[in-house]
């Protein structure tokens, strides 16, 4: 596996919670799985440059995002990532069109107009250009958020609980869409979830978080067959025995 993203950092919060993690990813779908409070979302904020780690090294391809020894800390504006917040964070005072264009580097130019048109087609949003987020369904909002993130031509995609706010009925199709998107872009896509079924269905690589540490990392198969602790073994066992895919922390 070519390493595209390497992440190593320590961070202690005022609340007493502290993190110390290290993992790497290729141009694949990486799922961060673990109970809430394990540090998954904090990892995203650190990857995005919204929170500065106490020490560590974060690198995407040949761009160093953060290096505490070299005193490098790229601001979020320069990191070229697409970040989908759990509730999509669409600007409520902007239409679909304005939201998507917001991500463009030169929203007034001709290129922006054709990029916008392409996004509308790609994410099945034609006809919804003038709608405000309040008048969109959960699935539509997610596609607007994805389209907006894609306008930046990101080199890394971070998706925080992308399926938590959509109906069960559309989850399967969104999973397929996300997989296709990652295959087309060929960039690392990191997905946070606390739902095992989702993790197993999406992950090329599964990273299990607990209490601010990585408990185990590997392909879903490796983890199910060689669980490294009792908790993982328990749900891995259940998954194998019962085909139970709905386990979640």
């Amino acid at each position: 596996m070519d390493i595209a993203l390497s992440v190593r950092f320590k961070k202690a919060l005022a609340s007493g919670f502290s993190m110390d993690v290290s993992w790497q990813a290729g141009r694949e779908i990486v799922v961060l799985f673990g109970p809430s409070g394990a540090g998954k979302s904090l990892t995203f904020q650190i990857l995005a440059g919204l929170v500065t780690p106490d020490e560590g090294h974060i690198q995407l391809e040949d761009v160093v995002f953060h290096d505490s020894r070299g005193d490098i800390d790229l601001p979020p504006q320069l990191r070229e990532i697409g970040y989908l917040f759990q509730h999509y964070a669409l600007f409520p005072h902007m239409t679909t069109r304005e939201n998507i264009l917001y991500g463009h580097r030169q929203p007034q130019g001709n290129a922006a107009a054709s990029d916008l048109a392409a996004m509308l087609v790609r994410f099945h949003l034609e006809g919804l250009e003038q709608r405000y987020p309040g008048a969109l369904s959960g699935g539509q909002r997610q596609r607007v958020a994805l389209a907006r993130a894609m306008m930046r031509k990101p080199k890394l995609l971070l998706l925080d609980e992308p399926l938590s706010a959509v109906d069960l009925a559309v989850r399967r199709s969104i999973r397929t869409e996300l997989k296709n998107l990652q295959r087309t872009l060929n960039i690392p896509m990191v997905i946070v979830t606390h739902d095992l079924g989702e993790a197993l269905a999406l992950a090329d690589q599964l990273i299990i978080y607990d209490l601010g540490h990585v408990v185990q990392a590997g392909t879903p198969d490796e983890i199910i067959h060689h669980p490294q602790n009792e908790i993982i073994a328990e749900w891995a066992g259940r998954t194998l025995l019962h085909g139970e895919r709905s386990f979640s922390f």
Binding site: Q45, A48, G49, L50, P75, P76, Q77, L78, R79, I81, G82, Y83, F85, H87, A89, F91, P92, H93, Y102, G103, R105, R148, A149, M151, R152
Partner: protein, 221 residues
């Protein structure tokens, strides 16, 4: 009739001037208090807000100490320019500014703090600077609260009496705003004039407060 118009015109001049300054300074202070952490933040907050609870005469007293002809700032200013805030409409505007500023800061700060942090972070990740984010995301979403703050400050400035009396005095045509003219009319036994002025002030202030309430219920909640 002449007296009513003069007082109303002066009140408007004083309140509009004070409110314009409050809108700029108050919004900047509100933003800093809402989005930044720094030493002395609570002290600054308290300093801005204390005129809310002090008797206006005490605020006026401090204004004289600071801006009077012998004041810490007033004395050098008088020496340099030969001009002073004392007994001028600018003095009345200064009093209105200090007394009404905390309303603007408190109301607009609450509105700025209510803007979802995820939206601000999304804007940064999408490559926008803090200034662009403020212009395109924060201010439009906090618009209702900011407008309410401006209107409340205007209403408070319009009704300012005690601090104005201390620094600007009560000179008809120069510093005799509506509230001060009501007092003068009442003192000199002109009950009809006092009544008319009181009704005018009530109508203006009532309308402004009504609008402030309406503005606060922003459309994007």
């Amino acid at each position: 009739m002449e007296a009513i118009l003069t007082a109303a015109r002066l009140s408007l001049l004083v309140s509009v001037t004070a409110t314009a300054l409050i809108a700029l300074v108050g919004l900047a202070l509100a933003y800093v208090l809402a989005r930044r952490d720094f030493r002395g933040k609570h002290l600054l907050d308290a300093l801005i807000s204390v005129p809310l609870v002090l008797p206006p005469t005490v605020v006026g007293y401090y204004l004289v100490v600071l801006f009077g002809r012998e004041g810490w700032i007033g004395a050098p200013l008088y020496r340099l320019t030969g001009w002073s805030f004392v007994f001028t409409w600018q003095g009345a505007a200064l009093a209105a500014f200090v007394v009404a500023l905390p309303l603007m800061v408190r109301v607009s700060r609450a509105a700025l703090e209510a803007v979802d942090k995820d939206l601000i972070n999304t804007s940064y990740v999408l490559g926008k600077s803090e200034w662009e984010t403020v212009r395109k995301v924060v201010l439009p979403l906090a618009k209702g609260g900011i407008m309410a703050g401006v209107l409340l400050a205007f209403a408070r400035a319009l009704g300012e009496f005690g601090a104005t009396l201390m620094i600007a005095g009560n000179i008809p045509g120069r510093t005799g705003t509506l509230p001060l003219s009501i007092y003068s009319a009442f003192q000199s036994g002109d009950d009809a004039l006092a009544q008319t002025l009181a009704i005018i002030l009530t109508i203006i202030s009532g309308t402004v407060i009504y609008l402030a309430g309406k503005w606060t219920s922003s459309r994007w909640i």
